[in-house]
Amino acid sequence: MSFFRRLLRRPVAVVCFAYLAALVGIAVVAPIAMPSVETQNAGDLFGANLLPGWSHLLGTDTLGRDVLARLLVGDRVTLVGVAEALITVLVLGVPLGLAAGYRGGWTDRVVTWLADLTFSLPAVVIIIVVLSVFPGSMLAGMVTFGVIAAPDLMRVVRSATLPVREELYIKAAEASGLSGTYILTRHVLSRISGVVIARASLLAAAALGLQTGLAFLNLLVAAPAPSWGGMVADGTSVLLLHPWLIASPGAAIAVTMLALSIFGDAVRDAAVEGWSPAVTRRRQALKSAAPGAAAPAEGRLLAVEHLGVSFPGGEGDLRVVEDVTFDVAAGEIVGIVGESGCGKSVTAAAVIGLLPGAGRIDGGSVWFAGTDLARARDAELGPIRGRKIAFVSQEPMASLDPAYRVGAQIEEALRCHRGLSRAGARARAIELLRDMHFADPAAVARRYPHELSGGMAQRVGIARALAGEPQLLIADEPTTALDVTVQAEILELLRELQLTRRMAVLIVTHDWGVVADLCDRVVVMYAGQVVERADVRPIFDSPLHPYTEALLASNPHLAPEAATLPVIPGTVPPPGSWPAGCRFSARCRYSVAACTELAVAIEAAGGAHETRCLRHDQLARA
C-alpha cells in the first residue's frame, strides 16, 4: 500500500489535511480576491465591534472592519511565516544532526557545542533585537526563530541517527562503496523520517505560537495589514467590552496548531507503517468458560490443553498457535522443537502470560498447580510468575538491566519473591551465583551486565530466575546466542539444577543436539501445531512424523561429507496461509492425495508416542 493510501485510511489525518490544504488555498486566493483588505485602515466606524450577523459573518473589529475578511487575508502572512521558520529549522537541523550522529568525533563535538551555545541564548530577547534591526520583517523574525529552534531538531536527529549508524546494513552499504551522502539520505534519513516529521510539526506549531506573540506585540506586521496575532491584540484592547473579538483569531490559531501537530503524528505513523513492528497491548485473560474445565490429573505440573494464540493482523486476527496440547511432570525436562515461525516461542511465552505485541490466548487452557493461567487475572498470575514459573530468554544481555549491578538485580528478585531482608538477600544472591559455578561469586555480583560475557550473563539470568525457587523453568533458546563451549556449560548447569532441585524445565530449541543432551520428552511443532510427541529416544530412533524425520536429516552436524546437505524443500508457510489438510503436506515426501483433503488429528501411535500423520503406520514400517 502506498504512503498516501495509508495516510488516507486515517480519518483524523484526512480532516487535518483538508483543513491545512484549505488554509493554503485561502492564503493564495484571499489576498487576490480581496485586495483592499490589506491596506484598509478603517471600515464603517459606526458599525464597529458588531456581533456576528448576516452582513458580517464574524462581526467587525474596533475600527469597523470585517473580521472574516481580515482573518482570511491574514492567513497568508501567517502561513508564509510558519513556512520560513520550518524551512530554516529543517535546513539547519537535519543535516547537522545527521552529520553529528553519523560522523561522530570532531564533527559531533563541534555541532553539539554550537547547539549547547544556542540553547543558552535568551531566544525572545534575540528575536526582539533582530526585529529592531529589521522592523516589521516576518522573514527576519521567523528565520531567527528557525536558527534558535534548529538545535532542538538537530538533537532529535542526532540521537535517532546514533543507533541506526550501528546497523549492519549501513556497514554493508559502506562495504559496497556507496558514498556517505548516499547512505545518509537513503538509509539513515528513511529510517528516522518518523521522528523528524513529528518533531518538525511540533516546531511548526511553536513557530505559529511565537509568531502570534510577536504580532500581538506589533513587532511583525505593520498596521493596517491583517495578521492573526494582530487581530488578537486588537481584541485584547477591548477584552472587557467585546470579548468575542479575540474568539475567531484565537480559534484559528489554536485549531491550526492542533492540526499541525496531529497531522505530523499521522504522517509519521503512515510513513513508518509499511515496515515497523506492531504496538504492544496489555495482556488479556481469556474470558470464556473453559470447555470441560476440569483440572487435570495429579502428577502433572503443567498441562497445556488445546491452546490457541492469535495476533491481530491486517484482515482480522491471525491464529499462530492452534490446538497445542502437552504436559510437563515435576522434575522433568521437556523440549519444544521446530523451525522458526512454528509457534514454539509463542507457546512458551503464552504459558507465562508474556505474549509479545498484541498477541492473546484465544482458546484452550494452561493448567498449573490447580490454576488455569489462560483465565487467570493479572493479580492471580503475579504470585505464580517468578515464584512458581521462571523464564530465561534467548538474549542474556538484553534481559539484564544495564544500569544496575548484577548482584542487585538478583537481590531485587529475592526480596520480592522470598521477602528476604537486605542482608539476607545479599548473602543468598552470592550463594545462587556460587551455585552457577562462578569461581568468585562476590566479584561477579559487583559487576555491571556490560562487564560480563554472554555466557556469564546467561548464568546470572538463570541465577535470577532461580531466586523464587520455581518449580518450572521456561527457557526460550537459552543457548542459541552463545558459543558452543559456553553452550555446553549452560546445558550442564541446567541438567544439574534439574537433578539437585527437582525443577522441571521446558526448553524451546531448534537444535537436536540440545534435545539429545538434555530432554526427557520432546514436543515437535510445525506451523502452529504439535505434530509429534514422544520420549526422547523414540523421537531420534523412530520418528513417526515426516517433519521430524526431515528436520533430523537436515541438521548440518549430522550430515555426511557430501556435495549438498540434505534440506527440507520450501519454507514453513506463514500463519494465515496454512493449507486445509496436513500443514506439512506441501513439503512432505510421503504426501498422498488424502493428506491435503482434511485436517489431520493427532493420534496415539503406541505407548506415549503421538503423531499427527495419516501415514504413520507406513512410516514406522519403512
Binding site: 562462578f438 569461581a439 558452543v484 550442564e492 529416544r537 548440518p556 552436524h557 519454507t571
Partner: protein, 331 residues
C-alpha cells in the same frame, strides 16, 4: 599452492584503543591466504578476533601491523576511492539478517544500490540484474517490491547473499552467515553458497563459531583463540583429528543429535570452572588458563606454530604427546 592467492593476510595485528591503558590487541600475528575458488573457514569463539579480521579486510578497522593483499595489491591502508573500486570484487554477508537489511527500503532498492558505485547501468539493466539474482537465490522477481519484514530470517539471509553477489565479486567475506538461522535452514543457505561458488567461481572467507558447519563448506580451516592462530590446515584433517586442545574442546562442545552417545560424551568431557575472564600472562600460551592439559611450560612460553605430517600448523607445546594419546584412544 601454485596459483597466487586472491587474498593474502600476512602477520596481521589489529589493536583497539583503550582509554588510559595500553591498546587491546584483538588480532595478533595472524597470517592466512584464500586462493581463487577456495573457501577458508575462520573458526573461534566470540572474542577470538575473527570478526575483527573481516572488518580489517573490509577497511572498517585499521591494521596496526602486517599486510593485507588482495589480488597482489596491498589494501590495508586503501583510501575511499580504492575501497570504492575494490567493493566490486570484495563483498560481505553479515551474521544478523535482521540488522543487515534496511527495514525502510524495499528489497529491490537494497539490491540495486550495490551497483551504483560501479558504472551507472541503465534502469532496465539494473531491474534485469535484480530480477535474475533474486531468481538465483530462490525468489520471484516480484520480491523486489517487498520490505524485509515480510521475510523470515533464512529468506533475509538469501537476500543478503544476493546483495553481495549482484556486483559479481570475486571474494565474499561471510561473517557468521548461518549462525542465527535454524539448523534446518542453515543447510539451505550452505547449499546455496556452495552452488554459487561453483557457478560464479567465488572465493569465500567463511567465519563461524561452529566447526561442524565450517567443515562442510571449507577447503581449509584456521582456528583462532584470543587473536592468535591455534591451528590451521585442511578442513577434513582438522575436523577429524584435531591437533590442538582448543580445537578439540570446540568439537566436543557441540552436542550431537543422539541421546545415548551425547550423554556418554558429556560424562566424559573434562570440566572447567567458569571464572571471570582470566588474562594469560603475556608470554604464556593464551589457551593455558582454560586448557585441561596445561603444564608449566605452557604458562612460561608462547608455543611456536609447528607443522605436522598432515600439513597442519599447530601452536601447542604438547601436540606430539597429544598425537600419541589420540592414536591410542582410537584403538
Amino acid at each position: 599452492m601454485s596459483t597466487r592467492p586472491l587474498l593474502s593476510i600476512d602477520r596481521l595485528r589489529v589493536e583497539y584503543p583503550v582509554r588510559n591503558r595500553p591498546p587491546f590487541t584483538a588480532v595478533d600475528d595472524v597470517s592466512l591466504a584464500v586462493g581463487p575458488r577456495e573457501t577458508v573457514g575462520l573458526v573461534g569463539e566470540s572474542g577470538s578476533g575473527k570478526t575483527t579480521i573481516a572488518s580489517t579486510v573490509l577497511g572498517f578497522v585499521p591494521a596496526a601491523a602486517g599486510t593485507i593483499e588482495f589480488d597482489g595489491e596491498d589494501i590495508a591502508g586503501a583510501d575511499r576511492g580504492r575501497r570504492r573500486r575494490l567493493s566490486a570484487s570484495l563483498q560481505v554477508v553479515f551474521q544478523d539478517p535482521y540488522s543487515s537489511l534496511n527495514p525502510a527500503r524495499t528489497i529491490g532498492k537494497t539490491l540495486a544500490e550495490t551497483l551504483r558505485p560501479h558504472g551507472s547501468p541503465s534502469r532496465p539493466e539494473v531491474a534485469q540484474r535484480v530480477a535474475s539474482i533474486l531468481e538465483r537465490v530462490g525468489f520471484e522477481p516480484a520480491a523486489a517490491n517487498r520490505y524485509p519484514n515480510q521475510f523470515s530470517g533464512g529468506q533475509r539471509q538469501r537476500i543478503a547473499i544476493a546483495r553481495a553477489l549482484i556486483a559479481r565479486p570475486r571474494l565474499v567475506i561471510c561473517d557468521e552467515p548461518v549462525s542465527s538461522l535454524d539448523l534446518s535452514v542453515q543447510a539451505q543457505v550452505l547449499n546455496l553458497l556452495r552452488g554459487l561458488q561453483e557457478e560464479l567461481g567465488l572465493s569465500y572467507l567463511f567465519i563461524s563459531h561452529d566447526l561442524a558447519v565450517v567443515r562442510h563448506v571449507s577447503t581449509r580451516v584456521v582456528v583462532l583463540y584470543r587473536g592468535r592462530v591455534m591451528e590451521a590446515g585442511p578442513a577434513a584433517v582438522v575436523y577429524e583429528q584435531p591437533a590442538h586442545p582448543y580445537t578439540r574442546a570446540l568439537l566436543e562442545s557441540v552436542p550431537i543429535p543422539d541421546p545415548d552417545r551425547q550423554r556418554a560424551r558429556r560424562a566424559a568431557r573434562p570440566r572447567s570452572a567458569p571464572g571471570l575472564p582470566v588474562t594469560a600472562a603475556r608470554e604464556s600460551c593464551r589457551f593455558a588458563p582454560r586448557c585441561p592439559w596445561a603444564v608449566d611450560v605452557c604458562r612460561e612460553r608462547e608455543p611456536p606454530a609447528e607443522a605436522t605430517t598432515e600439513g597442519v600448523l599447530v601452536a601447542c607445546h604438547r601436540w606430539r604427546e597429544w598425537a600419541t594419546v589420540r592414536s591410542r584412544e582410537k584403538i
